[in-house]
Structure formats: C-alpha cells, structure tokens
Amino acid sequence: MKITIDEDRCCGAGQCVLEAPDVFDQRAEDGVVVVLDAAPPAELHEASRAAEQLCPTAAIEITE
C-alpha cells in the first residue's frame, strides 16, 4: 500500500487523523494533512482506506 496526498485539495478537516492516527497527522499552522507512514503495515490498511474514503476533499489517494 502506498499513500499519496494532494496538499492543495486538503481542507484541514482532520477526519483522516480521527480514523487513522498512526498514519496521518495535521500540520500545526494550517491543518494540512501530514502522512506519518506512506507505506503502512497490513494492520493499518483498513483504517487507511477508511480515511481515504472519508476525506471530504478526496485529497488522499491509496494505491496497492
């Protein structure tokens, strides 16, 4: 699994952090998503996919 993000799209909702706190964080100054682990281990795949799907601006993209 590989996670890429589009910073310009991110609105700072933070839904990804609520869903997968081991994979995502937010920049302190503007809330833009920070990927903590761009290739997370198998046990975090489901939460990562949920974060991708929940993102209200489709800023997260996951490829296998």
Binding site: G12, G14, V17, A28, L54, E61
Partner: protein, 406 residues
Amino acid sequence: MTTGRIAIVGASAAGLTAAETLRRGGWDGRISLIGDEPHEPYDRPPLSKQVLAGKWEPERTGLRAADALDLRLGTTATGLDVANRRVLLGDEALDCDGVIIATGVAARTLPGEARGAHVLRGLDDALALRAELANPGRRLVIVGAGVLGVEVAAVARELGHEVVVVAPEAAPMERAVGTEAGDLLAEAHRAHGVQLRLGEFVDGLLDDEGQVRGVRLTDGSEITGDAVLIAIGCTPAVEWLRDGPLDLADGIGCDSYCAAAPGIYAAGDVARWHHPVLGRPVRIEHRMNATEQGMAAARNLLAELDQERFGSRQEFTPVSYFWSDQYRFKIQAYGDLAAADQVQLRVLDKTDPGAPKAAALYRRGDSAFGALSIGIPPKQARSLRAAVATPQPWEQALSALDELAD
C-alpha cells in the same frame, strides 16, 4: 428474485461514495450509477472557492469513481417503483435488488430570467459566474447571506469587484452559526469592503431588455449591479418521486438506518433521516455528510439484502462537520449548531477585524451539541470536536473554550 443489480440515482459525492462502498463491501453484482449531468463526477466545494477564483481548472474537481460501474451520465431518472425496486429512466426500466437515492438538491431561484443573473450549484454555473467575474471592476449583487453567498462575496472582493450582499437575516450565515458568530463574520466582511444590506427582502430581479441590472426590494427600492448571484438555498431534487409512496415533506424521509422503504435508501443532501443521538430528523447539506451517509446507506442496504454475508445494519449517528474558507481564515463546525438554546462565543483575537479568531459552543438542554471555530488552526480546533462528539454536559464542555483561550 435477485436481479444482481443495485442502482444509485445521483452521481455526485454521496452516490459515488455509495458505489465505492458497495464494491469495497463485497457487492459483486452490477452497480448502475445514474447522473443527470453530462460531466464526469466532480466535487462541489471547490466551485465557490478555487474554481470561481480561477485557481483551479474544472478537471481538478474530478472525483474518483469506483471500478466496474455501469455509469450513466446525462441520464435522468423519471420514476421509481418502490414496491418492485424498479428505477425508470424514460423508456428504460432497471430492476434492482436495492436502490440508493442521492439526487441532491437544486438551487432555488427568483422569478424571471436575465443575462447576468446566476445561481451556483453545478460546474456549469460556476464557470458562467467565473466568466462574469473575469471582467474587471464589476458590481456584484449577492442575494442571500448563507455560506455560499458569503464565500462568493469573499472571492469576488479578492478579485477586486464591488460586492453588495442583501439578505433578510440579521447576520451572515445566521442560520448555520447563529447571530453571535454571524456578527463577527459581518465585521470581517465589512473590513474587506463588502457592503452588507441585512434585514432587507428582495422582491425580484431588475432587468433591462433581458440584461440584469440589479434587484428590487420589497419596499420598492433598488440595488443596482452588473451581475446578480441568487444564493437563497436549495430544494431537494425529489420531483421524479412525486407519484410514489415515499415521504417527501423535506427531502426523502428515512429511518435511523437511512432507509426510506424496504430496499430503498437515501444519502446526502436529499436525505432526511432520524438522528438517534440528536433525537430529531435532520437533513444536512454538507460535503462531509454526503460521504458519510453514502457509506452508511450502502452498508445498510447490503446488510438488509444479506445479513449473513454483510453483517447487521447500523444506525447512522454522525458528528456533522462543515468548513468554509473566506479570505485568509477558515471556519469549521462540528455537531449540531441548529436549534441551540444558548451560544457561548469566545473571541480570541480581534486585533484584525478582517481576520477574526474565535470559538463558540452551542447548548441545547444541559449539553453542548455544537462547536464552531473561526480563524483557528484546524488541528487546534479539533479539541472542540471532542466536546460535542458525545454531547458533554455544558459546564464541562466550556472548559474546551478555556483551553483554546490559554
């Protein structure tokens, strides 16, 4: 009899997410996704922001579609046979195991038509208004001071246009955030040079041989402008369901599982469902809800079709979320801000009236149900969400405001 097909009517965020959730959930039958616009599915929030400002081209708003869809663009659903789960597309009828309705809302408008009078709901609307604003030095009259109206006001000011906002409310975004926070936003917009005509009622468009030249108020006075944006809210797109048995009082009435009838679910702007935590029916026109409810409706439909394979249905109990970008500040809201008995607003920094920093909590009964942040970094504002995710006792929730102030 199983047909091997689920139809989703509406190919915007809610419908698209429902399709993706059906696939991810293990539905291996057909998924027919029906959208009445000719465009590939796209995202709406950027329309009043990045697209209107000319920062993004339309392609950038594209949303990913799930794999292996029977995608019908430019196709309008004309009816639904609820008892037989049959979607009518003109002369064609689709027999389905289940149906998810995600037809969204349509912009309300004023009587009459004129060049230069706009609404902003779809991509084509956004491009038409953007073309208007590409001419320098326009005077734009915005009818309505809701989230859309004031977002466009901010963009138009930043493009250097003269902007007048006219609305019956006492403050911008009053219905979304209440008067206290709305007053702060009024100050911010005035600081940026927007002329606010609040507490005034628009009667209709003024036009000069088919070209708009402003609006007429109910007291007979006029506000002139080169272009008019009508941003007075939306109406659920349910006309195609009128002849059927569904409850269409305000959108499609659903139970707490987002079901409108056996095998028929609804999601997104068009769905009014019973929120068990809030204890009342709600219909939410926010982007985040489209995604979350699209997921919930799809999962519950699968569970209804085959509980053994897909598990049990779950009530849909989201903590609502919306955001708005205006000038250089961001507004974020969590939970239920409507129907508050009391609003506690804390202004954290007022040195620049054009860029306020504030937070607010919304009380109903003895608990905090809603939270709002203005101009606060999103990561910091997330602490407010915790105060309302499970409605906290009011006094306890107030400490979240104290922590932000420190």
